[in-house]
Amino acid sequence: MQVTGTVLTTRRVDAYHALTVVAPGIAERFRPGHFVSVSVGGARTSMVTRRALYVHDVKPEYGGTVELVFTAAGPGTSWLAERRARDTIALVGPLGRPFPLPRDPCHCVLVGAEHGAAVPIPLADALAERGCRVDFVLGAASADRVFGAMRARRMAERATVTLTTEDGSLGVRGAVTDALPGVIADTRADVVYACGPMRTLREVTAVGIEAGIPVQVAVEESMACGIGICMTCVLPVIGDDGVTRMLRACADGPVFRGERVRFEDVGTIPFDALGAPGGGARHVG
């Protein structure tokens, strides 16, 4: 649904911007893994594509607020970073398919890399409600880009938080995937949930396969609409029938089973994908 949200608070979190917006309709329907899209540049904007943003937190105040996390990387997100309290922004959401949650309590490892670390926070709440044990592995290039470490520490009373940085400025030196096998082994994890850049998700999935446990990933692809009509955010995913299809990260995802995503073929049309040019599965229904 589309909501004109009023900005409640803005804050800088190290390298990131966080915007809390009053959006009751979105907050009410939000499930972990959902995202929202924001139009940028105001009413007569020259920027026609929407920006897809992760929701870091949902609170019941003022009928429901969502906190959005992003980096000011281009003209659109810079505009967003300049919003102040009482400004309004046009949101559409919640979008996408959320993380499937386990029916019975189990041990979960939540992996977040770069600003993808915003996603595991509300997911951890939902998992904890179901009696799951939740351990975190959060990482980034440097200390100022590790998101949500404090919040994770506060939540993880009976679990662990492992932080990694490429430059060693915080926690373990290295990538999240360097620390992950140890965490999986120590916690006897049943499932891994991950969000971050494509390269990280690929490696996390490999670790999960190695450990013999399922991995749920939330992918990031550049998208124009976020609602499934522009067809620009596709990636190759293997279906139940074994056929690879180009699925939309927004409407068919953003959550996929890691082992189903052909990470090494992202950015290409695999020759055996359904409908690939001159390709194998061309006439499969």
Binding site: S46, V48, A224, M231, G267
Partner: protein
Amino acid sequence: MSVDMRTFLAHVELASPVTTAAGCAASGRELAQFFDLHRLGALVTRSITMAPRAGRPTPRMAETPSGMLNAVGLQGPGIDVFLERELPWLAQRGIKTIVSIGGGTVAEYAALARRLADAPGVTAVEVNLSCPNIEDRGRVFAREGGAAAEVVASVRSVMRYDAPVVAKLAPDVADIVSVARACVDAGADALSMINNPLGMSIDTVSLRPALAAVTGGLSGPAVLPLAVRCVWQVHSALPGTPIVGVGGVMTGEDAFQLVLAGACAVGVGTALFHDPYACLRIERELEDLLRARGFQRLADAVGLAHRPPGSPARHLHEESSL
């Protein structure tokens, strides 16, 4: 007082002049989450091809000043799945559906039209002429009147008589009027213009083209003046041919420009990416504008900008601000 917004696409009456633009509404279900599709004049599908198509590699999209480039490559399920799942869903709900078709040869267009000829729920067929012609070194059909006419004639000859055939024209031609005339002579009941002009953008960080396909179709407000010019030229040469104006329509005012240039219906594409409710908003804004200018019927405004300067606007209400 409400304005009569009904319009005719050839002999088919549409309750509203606002349609989706081809390729901007996926299967229809995505937009149905936001509003009742019955409120559209018609839903134009993505271009349906014979075989399923995976499309182009990513990145497929790049934002440009007041617009965007896309190179999706007609990703779609193919005619079989379309007829099995997507069209029945629309037909059962009674949603007016204009089916866009795309092919690599004249025979492929004809085969697609034959499959659609007896399918229930096809209000009209839009022929996407901006597909590369395999038999002509991959040059698009729309670039030349003869090639475009051949496709239109083959589709018209097999399509049901009561389903209008709409030719979708590209602006990347030396003389759009001659292509339009060739299509109408070949049996096109209506014309739709414009398809995306080709553009290109280069990523200054990676030092490579921003799109995997190198070039892509430019859409958004940047192309509106191009659309207005094409509709104007074609309407003045072929005043009796219904035109669906498409290209960069973001507001009711943009739609009004196309109507005044000669379009009797307006397609909304890129605006839907920005605002899922764009079609409804644009129709409402267009109606408000027509009322403010003293029009009682949309039909009275079609092509009105072509009247000579200084001619009296007799139909206008005396309190109008014009």
